[in-house]
Symmetry: C2
């Protein structure tokens, strides 16, 4: 029996036709969870699962599953990603991994028939928090039992409605969310676009992802003294803008000096009162710091916190912060990684290893299963924009690695 083949035309058809659900001008896609566009996309996904001969179902939060039952039973190996998008995002972020799952399971079934172990593909309902700012990973959290039936009445959309209302609007009962919980998944593999420029810079189509970065988001407030920009001498000021500038420059420089894969970003800043001729009384800003190595990530946070305290004390500023998000690093399973490397070698797919600097559903799934990811090269490293692009040949290479890995795990 020969090896499977992945049909580029089929892959391209799925991508193009799926992008019509939420099509937002040219290559843009706006498909938020529980929107009419999302409903169309999940129906489409389910239809393709059925056409591929998979046992198909929608779970209690609306994620769509396609299943190939194993002859031995036992825990399943799952592959997939999210079906929702940014507003607008592009045709690849998330959905590519969900579609790759159908392509892989279809190829495996057609080539090798029934597997020994159960394999499933999934289109997770929500990852981008592009409609409900606090609902990130709604789909994968439900699978791990971390979205309770109390949550939905508290989770509000940017436009005010609760996620419970949104669920009811699409025929889902928020009280049944706990039914989405799974305790029979052995491994979860997510294929995703890289969203960064590293593969492109390296001239490679595919990366095997050794882990997902640890992320901490700080919202920081620096209070000084608001003063007249002309009448108050420099030597008597307590200027939070000066303190902010020193901290922002310092934390960015720290991540530079640490080198890859450490990153630190100051994305948000607000000066109060924000007048041209007023020394601000307060500056509020964010720090996003990330490192995938559990042994190093706390050191990066500590370096940033130490600098903030030192600068604030020296400049006579009051410093406070809130941690809005704190995800520990998530290491890929060495066994799955070994299968991925062998798979890439067998199919002649040139790869490199890297850590993911972005957060993914994989981090949630790691609470209940072994995990690993596959990245496909992103043009110009771009994502969360209609301009995001990955080529069909690169995507096919990624799907080959995914399919062969599932074969090794399940057959």
């Amino acid at each position: 029996m020969g090896s499977f083949t992945i049909d580029p035309a089929y892959v391209e058809k799925l991508i193009i036709e799926m992008a019509e659900h939420g099509s937002d001008g040219g290559t843009g896609v706006s498909r938020t969870v529980y929107s009419p566009e999302w409903v169309g996309a999940t129906r489409q996904y389910a239809q393709w699962c059925e056409e591929a001969g998979l046992e198909t179902r929608h779970d209690a939060v609306g994620s769509v599953w396609g299943r190939l039952n194993g002859s031995e039973g036992g825990k399943a190996f799952v592959t997939g990603s999210h079906i929702d998008s940014q507003t607008p995002g592009g045709r690849y972020d998330g959905i590519l991994g969900a579609l790759a799952g159908i392509v892989a399971l279809k190829a495996l079934k057609e080539t090798y028939g029934q597997p020994r172990r159960t394999i499933e593909c999934v289109a997770l309902c929500e990852e981008e928090n592009s409609r409900f700012p606090t609902a990130q990973w709604w789909g994968s959290r439900a699978i791990t039992g971390r979205t309770t039936s109390e949550d939905p009445e508290l989770v509000r959309a940017f436009s005010g409605e609760t996620i419970a209302e949104a669920m009811r609007d699409v025929g889902l009962d928020p009280a049944r969310i706990p039914e989405a919980k799974r305790d029979d998944i052995e491994g979860f593999i997510e294929l995703h676009i890289e969203q960064g420029p590293i593969l492109e810079q390296a001239g490679l189509p595919v990366a095997i992802v050794t882990g997902v970065t640890g992320i901490r988001h700080y919202m920081i407030t620096l209070n000084g003294q608001q003063n007249h920009a002309g009448a108050f001498p420099m030597d008597m000021r307590r200027d939070p803008m000066a303190g902010f500038a020193e901290i922002a420059l310092g934390v960015i420089d720290t991540a530079h000096r640490w080198g890859r894969p450490a990153v630190t970003t100051v994305g948000r800043v607000k000066s109060i009162p924000n007048g041209i001729a007023v020394v601000p009384g307060t500056v509020e800003f964010s720090i996003d710091a990330r490192h995938p190595d559990p042994a190093k990530v706390e050191g990066l946070y500590a370096a940033h916190e130490g600098l903030m305290r030192e600068v604030a004390a020296r400049r006579g500023l009051e410093l406070s912060w809130e941690v809005l998000n704190d995800q520990p690093p998530c290491m890929s399973d060495p066994g799955i990684l070994a299968h991925m490397k062998a798979a890439a070698e067998k199919h002649g797919v040139p790869t490199m290893t890297m850590a993911s600097g972005a957060g993914h559903d994989t981090q949630q799934m790691a609470r209940i299963a072994k995990v690993a990811m596959i990245f496909v090269r992103s043009k110009d490293g771009r994502s969360h924009t209609p301009d995001e692009f990955s080529s069909i040949p690169d995507i096919v290479e990624g799907i080959k690695v995914l399919t062969e890995t599932l074969y090794r795990l399940a057959y």
Copy 2:
């Protein structure tokens, strides 16, 4: 004939009663140009001028003048400041100088009778641009002929109405603005609160102001490349936030190193798109740089501009800026300054000299007259707030210097 005396009770009465026009909670005052509160204040001012025996009139933009005709005729010496306020401001900024004029002229008239040279006090209609953002110095600009009859239909309030409409509402005809122009003023003296902490720090009630600072306002745009905060390595970023931080820290540090009276403020900043997990594509910010020395101010601006260009080039950022405001330094007249120093000495008023770091009507009046200013100590250096405060004893000391200076110029 003995010297004049300044009655503290009269001074206090004028300040307290004037503060009722636009009273805004406790010690706050909100009195924008052409508002009902402003109308009440200008009528009050005119009434007090008349009670002091001054020839009283309202000019074409609503500034109120009290006049003591000189026996010799010729050009006049004028003292005053603005009658409008911030929203809310306090009881002193601007209005104190207008009231000091009444007190001084009244004391001179009562003590010495008719002067040789004409002296006038004035309550200028507008300085704070707290209602019309582009109308700053509406009163003093009209006196110098720099507010034309075309302007009023273009100048809009924060709430949308034109200043022409606002003028008509209070019985002024915008077409007659040119009639406010004066070409018969020899000298203009403005008494004002310091708005800074220098006198308080020095333990002195009054300063003789050698000049008003040169001011330049830049609005700067730094464009880089918007990227994912996790997936884009530090070494490949073109991060305008890093460039902004380096520039802000650098220009503030430059002013520190130059020392008094150089000041530089970064008051306004905007990150686009301002997301926690997004390397910004653009950062917009302001620089307010000031120096009162015509020989040095251009050097300060050049240092800032040089730093901006260097940082932007090194970091691969696109840099552009707009100069929103560019006031050259305004030097006080040496002759008037000499009279002020002699006046302070005669009345035993301890003074220091300083430059004004804030802009004032005096800069406008300098286009048509010799100018100088007197500063009165500000508590905690504060202004543009209901908390601004200057004590009656300090104010009386300042008015003594003003009155004696006018005496020396006009009698």
